[in-house]
Amino acid sequence: MTTARGLSVPAAPGRAITGLALRQLRRTGLIVLGLTAAMPALVATTYDSVMADPAAADGIARLAGNPAIRTLFGEPVALDRAGGFTVWRVGTFVAVLLAAWAILATTRITRGEEDAGRWDVLLASRVPLPEVAARHLAAVMIVPVAAGGAVAAVLLLAGTEPAGAVVHGAGIGLLGLFFVAVAGLAAQVFPVRASATGAAVAVLGGGLLARMIGDGLTELGWLRWLSPFGLLALTEPYARNDVLPLLVLLAVAVVLGGAAIVAAGHRDVRGGLVAAAAGRRSRLVLLGSVEAFAVRRVLRPLTGWALGVGAYYLLIGFTTLSVTDFLTDNPAFAAEAARAGFTALGAVEGFTATLFALLALPVGGFTAVRMSAFVAAETGRQLTLSAAQPVSRFRLLAAEVAAATGGAVVLVTVAGLAVWAGIAATGGGLTLLAALAGAWNTLPIVLLSLGAATCATGWTPRAAGVAGSMPATGGFLLLVIADSVGAPAWVRELSPFAHLAPVPLAGVDWSVALAMTGLAVALATAGVAGYRRRDLHG
């Protein structure tokens, strides 16, 4: 038997695949892990200062009786304890954040990589497709497991009851695992990354909606058993500490994950269980110019965002009267809500103003995602053919910014209309103009996001998504954290949300709106200047 010198036969080629998957996850994975650990830590450690007054804890606990509060913020359980309060205040947010990351990361490193053709070489190796898929899913699952462990650890370190900390941490971790499995299965079923992501996000949205309805309406409480978020709520950390819903969640996640790996063995590489359309009639509309094409590319994602934002704000509209009536009848609770960070909730205008401010998060996120997609088209070289046309760099970028701006205006308008329609349907009296003013009032923050993303597109294109998330999501987190830890005023005022007038409760603060818009325009202009000078990537 002869041995070729220098012939390298790795004993475990699969481990190289796991390594590859981990490399693609480490950056965003660490950010998500940090956020999921930091937010409960902040709230749990500041609980004592917030709840120093025993009447306060009692007041907030009685909010549980209101269906609308339960719908919007989740069922409050054990608010008299630091752990229970933390779960209520940030539990849903952490769960949604982790779920969204799990979906995006899973479809990105599985279907996305396969779609881009990078799995062809990988699968020509000795490792079969089901193992490659399994190793990638396992790699993503490390983050939810670590996040669940981190949540439990910080809750324990903050001195909350061990049982509740472990149940909540396990719930967060299992919920993350569930969404990795859902996205993993969707990535096997659909041959295109966008469809796989869309299907998994629909499960997320549906699950959240089922939990909201199940929390709000006692007779439909069983709906929560059908939703991962509902199962998380049913564990009632720091109260009943029920493990059964967690076992259900684990079982479903295992079944879905197993199904994903089995499905991977029954399909073609670059194919899905659902076949891609082999051909279709060409639709030539909106292909006449780079501007029209930018609009065409935004339409489909915009529809998805509009459905999500519209559904959420319609639900807010439906519940507005119930919440405000309750708070008006119980002024003590309104004061407690104010202490918890929700001011003037007793009036329809005050309640909607508080929730309209949140609109800047998804819509600002939308603009950041659009600019990231533009950068991805550049590095993916789809943009090369357009860049070789008689079209200036300015027009290429301006078309994209204009389409994203138009999409953002549509989204905030949809939210305003949805709130107005919801309130009108339940017999409330918010005028259409007031609802739209409240929604449009968030546009300056949205434009700041778009401006920051555009600036990054011109100078550091890889950072476009992160830069675009800074003004809205970053600004909101900064405000929440600054309020929670009692940071100096100037820190708080770095957040654009600190300057946003509560429209429709108050009038629009035009000087603030103009200042933010001016800053956004300056950022975008700087971005255009950078984009005109730099080399195109790809």
Partner: protein, 298 residues
């Protein structure tokens, strides 16, 4: 237009400490089919990206028919481009991409485009994600050849095409030349360059090492001469200028290589009773390997 179709002066591109292109100067007159050769990493695509304004030169400048290459809105009215690795919007069909390119391009002959779609046997009803490398290249080629742009910049346009399509490509290049279009063709397919190009530039490690017409290139390089004779061999052949490596390849047969004008060698041969004489010009591949043979490490 008296300006050259394409002019580069001291064009240089550095990425940090790596010099991708070093002081390239060349003119391509209008109407010429110009071949641009070089091994992988020689700087061909970098050059093309700068000619198209996709990348900015570190120093030096380029012009397209006298228009600064960085003024893309004007310069690109005069050119059409096929990238080396064509990426298309995956959700658009071939027909939709061709429509987009025609709507935003420098002017397209739609009837000729339909003819090209037929000739390249392109199924335009399919979404681009289902296209193979060759089909993606065909979409870009059809879009470029269908324009009436006076300059076509083609970066390794046939690497994914089958021989039948390769033949269609050569026909399309000739038709473009017949219409007066200038073609700048970067390629690895040396027989293709040899078949369609008037002039060739050879790039190595970011530097221009040769720029010449096909005839000049052949003249500069050695031809292989085989002589059959009866009786005594031609005397003193080894001392004739331009004659090298004379070898006896059989009884009454000699082979030698010849550089430069053949007259002195022919005079020497006249002294022998030559029965047959064959002169084989070097193929572009041999010329190419002559330039790179040592660098390629063979």
């Amino acid at each position: 237009m008296n300006d050259p179709a394409l002019r580069a002066v001291h064009l240089t591109k550095r990425y940090g400490r790596v010099t991708a292109l070093d002081d390239l100067s060349l003119d391509v007159p209008a109407g010429e089919v110009f071949g641009f050769l070089g091994p992988n990493g020689a700087g061909k695509s970098t050059t093309i990206r700068m000619l198209l304004g996709l990348a900015r030169p570190t120093s030096g400048r380029a012009w397209i028919f006298g228009t600064d290459a960085t003024d893309v809105a004007r310069a690109h009215r005069l050119l059409a481009y096929v990238p080396a690795d064509v990426a298309l919007w995956p959700h658009l069909t071939g027909a939709e991409i061709l429509h987009l390119q025609a709507s935003t391009g420098p002017g397209t002959d739609l009837a000729y485009r339909d003819e090209l779609v037929e000739r390249f046997a392109l199924d335009t009803a399919k979404p681009a994600r289902t296209y193979s490398t060759g089909n993606r290249q065909k979409v870009a080629l059809v879009a470029a050849f269908a324009t009436r742009a006076p300059l076509l910049v083609l970066d390794e346009p046939t690497s994914g095409l089958d021989p039948l399509m390769e033949r269609e490509f050569r026909t399309a290049v000739r038709q473009a030349r017949d219409r007066g279009q200038t073609v700048f063709l970067s390629s690895h397919q040396l027989d293709e360059v040899e078949a369609v190009c008037d002039r060739v530039a050879i790039l190595r490690a970011g530097q221009l090492v040769e720029i010449a017409s096909m005839e000049q290139l052949r003249g500069l390089r050695r031809a292989e001469v085989t002589v059959s004779y009866t009786g005594a061999p031609p005397p003193g052949l080894g001392e004739v200028p331009g004659v090298e490596s004379v070898e006896q390849v059989g009884e009454g047969r000699l082979r030698f290589s010849l550089v430069g004008a053949p007259a002195p060698a022919l005079r020497a041969l006249a002294a022998a009773d030559v029965r047959a004489l064959a002169i084989r010009e070097p193929s572009l591949e041999e010329i190419f390997l002559d330039y790179y043979g040592t660098a390629a490490g063979r």
